[in-house]
């Protein structure tokens, strides 16, 4: 992110049954500010608070910069990285993508080889994508913590919604100003920021 990037903070108090309406932006990817230069495990467990057991047993398919990961301790997250997390996938090719699986050699050409350790502790940003079961299970906590999304994508998300979505939006705040849910899109458009920090609290 450049120093000139502008941000608007949107807080939504969500009263709906679930947060599925926000999952498309998590699948497409959200920006996270984090200490980079660490392993995927350190990022997920230490910084995002995901239990190690969940990382080992539930997140069976991981892509770092589009390459399939076999070892979460050897693959390092850097400033600008893209990290995608998924549960176990069906199909032969789904099984080949599984981390450390017996069929991993079948996608050898797109495997993430692991890295030499890089400068640890440097603040950076990365794009996080959550798919399938993982978005259902981790999405709510990630949204509660807050994610950065390009303003245009948030505008599209809001534009795609129908009455049910707006009814489920309780209190909405834009940069600490109370805003009627129906006016969110317009307010954001007037703000003209590059990025939106979206915080959704059930």
């Amino acid at each position: 992110m450049s120093a000139r990037t502008t941000q608007t903070v949107v807080r939504i108090s969500w009263q709906g049954e679930n947060l599925e309406a926000f999952f498309p932006i998590l699948r497409e990817g959200v920006l996270l500010t984090a200490q980079t230069g660490c392993s995927i495990r350190r990022l997920l467990c230490d910084q995002l608070g995901i239990p190690g057991e969940y990382v080992d047993n539930r997140i069976n398919t991981i892509f770092l910069d589009g390459r399939a990961v076999d070892d979460v301790d050897r693959s390092m997250v850097r400033d600008g990285s893209s990290l995608a997390l998924s549960a176990a996938m069906p199909g032969l090719v789904g099984a080949t993508m599984r981390k450390g699986g017996i069929l991993a050699s079948m996608r050898d050409g797109i495997t993430h080889r692991g890295d030499n350790p890089c400068t640890p502790g440097k603040q950076g940003s990365l794009r996080l994508k959550l798919y399938n079961m993982v978005v259902s299970e981790l999405g709510p906590d990630i949204l509660k913590t807050g994610v950065l999304v390009e303003a245009g994508r948030i505008a599209r998300l809001f534009a795609d919604q129908t009455g049910d979505f707006w009814k489920a939006c309780g209190a909405c705040r834009v940069d600490d100003r109370q805003v009627e849910p129906a006016h969110l899109s317009k307010t954001l458009s007037q703000e003209g920021s590059d990025l939106v920090r979206l915080v959704v609290t059930p």
Binding site: P90, R107, G109, I110, Y131, N132
Partner: protein
């Protein structure tokens, strides 16, 4: 299942049926049986649409029993698309019903002496075969509605649409599902064209008055089935992922991997992937009062299918599978789920393979017949196929023919059959299977079945391309074995990860037939199936030159990883060395 129903469509005086003992084919089911019959009885050099070819319809070894997920029907013949041996399989009600009627297989032989279309009715009392030209050129949906009026909604049907009657090489054989809709297709290789050449429009299976098949050892069978069900439910893929999202859950993941063939295999990523992903599809189905979790036959506990309703909440089609969403979606640059569902409905109705059709449209789009991303144009092209226009006849004969007619170099086929939804440059291991499978490019030929458990084919060096040949061989052997049981191939995930679940499958077969098979026996069964198939193809004129991917996979890099297919030809040729 101790008899085979042979129907001679070319008999003097009209088609004649005779039930004969299974004889030398005893102990075989599903793909093992179809490939054994084709390999032994069909002259390899015959014309696929001629009298000498046979169409074999065989339930699996455990079909018609209480074994969960045992309802696959194998359809075998010499393929009009590839010129080699073919086994395509489908879910639906047909396999269970046919097995309960006591038939290990139906074999359609000969060729009718007129151009009538025939209706075959099979029940516990016997078989009737009658010409019924009121069925001619009906779509599968209209056909089944007509059958329902005459025979009720408890029968199961095996049928072809207009594409099969027109003997197009992409024609499928449809099986009805639990709601008696013609949504489950043995799609690959033009098996529907062979049924059309036999003059059979529909086979109606009525199992009223029959019972569930009885195992040799009921107590052991029930116990094994209990463990089998528990294993399938315990596994994250069969117990959670597939029921929640269906196979289309793969779209986002394959796209992220850069292995999602886009716009006729010109890129590995599609910008509209999430709009057509399994997650989006499931949410839409639920919102429209359809269903994201549904079985294709009774006894299915995986429930990977669903019901896709249109914008008004009316049934349009079953939940399109990953390969269908890909072929008509990203492969054609289309990111509209409603359009893709309509294409799926049309494919089912006209009776064509969704993979072949989508891949063909992708080639046609590359040729400029339509623009990538133009969903209405894609729908119009499928209508051309169903109506049998000159352009439709070209498209209906598949991607290879279409590529030749329009002068396209990038045609993603092996042995004339279109590749499914995984780019072999990104996932080279599947490229090995595409290249070497006797079936032509086929993602289900080398499935994820317990290479580690079966331990076939020697050790694998994961860092060498030739190691992928070993893996592909193991997987092809194991897949051939599973295809013979009548089990849905999706059981592979639980079997891969859970040795006790694999053992439960073997225990079920043993308890049912009074056998004492081991994992080694399963390997031998798989090998024998592949040997039969390979032998047929060799006698049909296939050589190692046919076990190759198209040249562009070696010369064109695939974004975003910019990879090519690098497995050497001499390594591919080692696949059948065992």
């Amino acid at each position: 299942m101790d008899k085979i129903l042979r129907i001679d469509m070319g008999a003097e005086g009209g088609p004649k049926a005779s039930a004969v003992p299974v004889g030398p084919y005893a102990g075989l089911g599903g793909r093992a049986l179809t490939s054994a019959i084709i390999s032994k009885e069909v002259p390899p050099l015959c014309h696929a649409l001629g009298a000498d070819n046979k169409l074999v319809l065989a339930p699996g070894l455990l079909s018609g029993t209480i074994a969960a997920v045992s309802g696959r029907l194998s359809v075998g013949c010499k393929s009009p698309l590839t010129g080699g041996i073919k086994e395509a399989n489908a879910g639906g009600q047909a396999a269970q019903t046919l097995a309960r009627l006591g038939y290990a297989a139906i074999v359609l032989e000969g060729k009718p002496k007129d151009d009538s279309v025939y209706k075959v009715v099979i029940n516990k009392d016997g078989v009737t075969i009658t010409p019924d030209n009121t069925l001619k050129l009906l779509g599968n949906y209209a056909l089944i509605d007509k059958v329902k009026q005459a025979y009720g909604d408890k029968v199961a049907c095996i049928s072809i649409g207009p594409a099969g009657e027109m003997k197009m090489s992409s024609a499928s054989v449809a099986c009805t599902d639990m709601e008696m809709r013609p949504t489950r297709h043995a799609g690959r290789g033009g098996v529907g064209a062979v049924m059309g050449a036999k003059g059979v429009k529909v086979i109606i299976l009525d199992d009223s008055g029959t019972k569930m098949r009885e195992p040799s050892n009921p107590a052991a069978f029930q116990e094994a089935n209990k463990k089998w069900v528990e294993g399938l439910k315990r596994h994250a893929v069969t117990g959670e992922g597939l029921p929640a999202y269906g196979t289309n859950v793969l779209t986002n993941v394959l796209n992220e991997a850069g292995g999602y063939p886009t716009r006729n295999f010109s890129s590995g990523r599609f910008e509209g992937h999430d709009k057509i992903s399994g997650e989006t599809q499931a949410a839409l189905e639920v919102k429209r009062q359809g269903s994201a979790t549904h079985g294709c036959h009774r006894g299915c506990i995986i429930q990977c299918s669903g019901i896709f309703n249109d914008k008004d909440g009316n049934y349009l089609t079953k939940q399109p599978e990953y390969e269908t969403v890909w072929s008509h979606g990203g492969n054609c640059g289309i990111d509209d789920l409603d359009a893709i569902a309509m294409l799926d409905r049309l494919d089912d109705d006209y009776g064509v393979d969704t993979i072949e059709m989508g891949a063909t449209i992708g080639v046609a789009m590359e040729a400029g017949v339509a623009k990538f991303g133009d969903a209405q144009a894609a729908i119009n092209l499928v209508h051309e196929v169903g109506q049998g226009t000159p352009l439709g006849r070209i498209l209906g004969n598949g991607a290879a023919v279409t590529g030749k007619v329009f002068g396209v170099e990038r045609v993603p086929v092996v042995k004339g059959q279109s590749m499914p939804a995984y780019d072999p440059r990104a996932v080279m291991g599947i490229g090995v299977t595409y290249a070497t499978s006797p079936m032509g490019a086929d993602h289900t030929s080398g499935y994820a079945v317990a290479a580690n458990i079966l331990n076939v084919g020697g050790s694998v060096d994961p860092l060498k391309p030739e190691g992928q040949v070993d893996l592909s061989r193991n997987l092809q052997i194991a897949t051939a074995a599973v295809d013979s049981t009548g089990m849905c191939l999706f059981v592979a995930f639980a079997v891969l990860d859970q040795p006790d679940t694999f053992q439960a499958l073997i225990d079920m077969i043993n308890a049912f037939y009074g056998l004492s098979l081991t994992a080694d026996s399963v390997v031998e069964l798989g090998k024998s199936v592949l040997k039969n198939e390979r032998d047929f193809n060799e006698r049909a004129g296939f050589t190692s030159a046919h076990d190759r991917l198209p040249e562009f996979f070696k010369s064109e890099t695939l974004p975003p990883h910019n990879v090519t297919f690098t497995v050497k030809d001499q390594d591919l040729d080692k696949l059948f060395n065992w």
